[in-house]
Symmetry: C2
Subunit: 414 residues, 2 copies
């Protein structure tokens, strides 16, 4: 008998395709001031024109543009100041040819005016007369009604992430609560006879449950709500019990550990024993992270992650995070939103054809580029992740990269 195990290995691309088929979680409403980072569950249409009145964008004078045509330093236009508009006031005067009205940035344009002359281009001669030194075009230093948001227009798209500017749009529309997708609950289960809770001092041959904490942090950063369910021993009943608990409460389940062939088998056996469950993936052509399992149980994704902490982190970044984002309702076209940056490799890197390799690297900004500097050290060591800013992605068809090659680097940031 050969000890070799057989993986029906799936490509990363195919895994990501499978992942995008899971349905998104339901919706909820959150207060606008709590909405940053959440994902919109509906398109947002504007029910107003913004601004609702034509506004000045500079301090100066509201005029008819044609009153200023031809004005210059040597031939200023002379205008009669017929009033002023205070902030928050509806103007009571109107502007005719040859007239000007004092106005402040944000002030409402009086009737008749179509342009604002910056105060810097004027000089007061007396209380009621100004000189204008520069010709002003129609609509110069003016924002027209509806120029920012137009009534009925789709302003924000379902599936996009709420950033401060999206909060600003919602505030402008008076939306105090925001319809967003729920944050998916992600159960984290550790497994392995040698794993102990971090509060315990491990005896020789035991290890603290590091994965529970790295995964909890990763889930939070990906927009999920982590729930840690504890450590299953390497036996069927223990893992089965925790997995049933996890499926009862969570939208996504992560089982880490089982790095040895034996304990991976437990995870597979337990999954195969569940009703309404299908093993979708057993083995992915990535390194590190090959022994990854993806199952679908009661419509929910269940991941079996490598026990080695750094491998589990890489698998999270390249597969689980996209899965969480997809189930969170994030639009497909937003999935890669600047989580990867281009860089230039600063030394040769070997890799194996037929799998995607992910190599820890520091990013050094020099001139107009990032340089990616691979972090040395065995791949299982967590200090190599601490030293890294990102993961260099080496494509499946590559036999290695030479110094100077252009690479994409997945950012490892909080």
């Amino acid at each position: 008998m050969s000890g070799k195990e057989f993986f029906k290995v799936t490509t990363l691309e195919a895994v990501l395709e499978l992942v995008s088929a899971f349905p998104p979680v339901g919706e909820e409403s959150v207060r606008l001031d709590q909405s940053v980072g959440r994902i919109l569950a509906h398109d947002v249409l504007s029910d107003i024109d913004l601004p609702e009145f034509s506004r000045a964008t500079m301090d100066g004078y509201a005029v008819r543009a044609q009153s200023t045509f031809g004005a210059s330093e040597s031939m200023p236009a002379l205008l009669a100041v017929v009033g002023s508009v205070g902030m928050g006031e509806v103007p009571t005067v109107s502007v005719k040819a040859g007239e000007a009205v004092r106005i402040a940035t944000g002030g409402m344009l009086p009737a008749g005016a179509d342009s604002v002359v910056m105060v810097e281009h004027t000089q007061s001669l007396d209380e009621t007369t100004i000189e204008i030194f520069k010709s002003s075009a129609p609509l110069q230093h003016v924002i027209e009604v509806g120029e920012d948001l137009r009534k009925g227009e789709k302003i924000l798209s379902k599936g996009s992430r709420v950033r401060p500017q999206e909060m600003g749009v919602l505030a402008a529309l008076g939306r105090t609560s925001v319809p967003v997708y729920r944050q998916p609950t992600v159960a984290v289960v550790s497994s392995g006879d040698e794993i102990v809770p971090i509060e315990k001092t491990p005896t020789l041959s035991q290890l603290r449950d590091v994965n529970a904490h790295t995964l909890t942090g990763l889930v939070r950063l990906a927009g999920g709500a982590p729930v840690y369910l504890g450590i299953a021993k390497d036996n069927f009943d223990d893992l089965d019990r925790l997995l049933q608990d996890a499926l009862a409460l969570a939208d996504i389940v992560l089982i880490s550990g089982g790095s040895s062939v034996g304990s991976r088998d437990f995870t597979l056996d337990v999954l195969k024993g569940l009703s309404d469950t299908e093993i979708l993936v057993h083995g992915v052509s990535v390194s590190p992270g090959k022994p990854t399992i993806l199952a679908q149980s009661k419509q929910k994704p269940v991941w079996g992650l490598p026990g080695q902490v750094t491998s589990a982190m890489v698998v999270f970044h390249v597969m689980v995070r996209p899965a969480i984002e997809s189930i969170s309702g994030l639009s497909k076209d937003k999935l890669a939103q600047v989580l990867e940056v281009p860089a230039v490799l600063n030394r040769n890197l070997a890799s194996v054809q037929g799998r995607e390799d992910f190599v820890r690297a520091r990013l050094v900004s020099r001139g107009d580029r990032f340089y990616a500097e691979p972090v040395l050290g065995k791949s299982g060591l967590i200090h190599t992740m601490v030293k890294a800013d990102g993961l260099i992605r080496i494509e499946r068809d590559s036999e290695g990269l030479e110094k100077g090659a252009h690479v994409n680097v997945i950012l490892l940031r909080a």
Copy 2:
């Protein structure tokens, strides 16, 4: 009389220098599972060797490397299997020349062994004999005692941000609570006679308080704890009262609004009237964002931000965020941690020498680079920020950039 105002304009560089002089906030302890994104208030030294025992990193056989020297497919080495090590077990057997012990990934290396042969390079002949097809080097597929973290070594640095991998290191050390800097409280005050709370339907000439919400979101993303104190009318007493409240409770104060010369003057007057207060900056050579004020009151930074929402956002990204990070205790060398990405400009861009320009842009990933595509539209319009992925930074000495120029883009992400 000329309406021109006088700004003693400060460079952005000088503002950032001033900002870094404010002392950091105090410390607190947080639970490890709540620590992601926080900033370490102390260096972390390892009080253990990790691993505490030599471990296998592959499933296979623990051997003395020299027992395998010269082994090949055609000339396999024959070894006697003298036992096995289960996960979490302390081995009871030792390994002598010509012997092998079955071991799983993560298992503790038995005495005498210095190398692990992958199961894929072996074949069982019978229960007690294996063939080995490949020579194995000493320490191959082994992590030695202390190879990841060494007792007494500084592992994490004060002032660095806690990412999932830093949580992993802390978990490995059994640290259930983490000493971090407090999140600075950031008071947000709006001002302006025309500004109404967003719940209200503005009458003609009024505007909803958009800045309060964009700033609240920006503060959260920068790691601060925002407190919104409401809207001050454009009069001395109202603003003075809110500002005193803000200084009593917050570590940093943001006053937005006052976009007109008149209301800016209120902010300045109120600040000048406070005890123990100094105006550090009035006007910064950036666009947008020139009319920015920075004061120091009772050792705390007070910012007067432009009233125009997009200008206030730009000022936040380029000045206020670095200030919040600095006061949060983030190391200076970490301030720029991949918040900017290099890109290639995809059309000509004008700019004015003597100031730094920040231009909204979409980022398009094409091949091995980002291309920055400026977003058209007047700078005051918030929809231009919604369409943007980042801000192109145009240096002070530039008279404009040509298509194809290399630029840095500040990311606008949640």
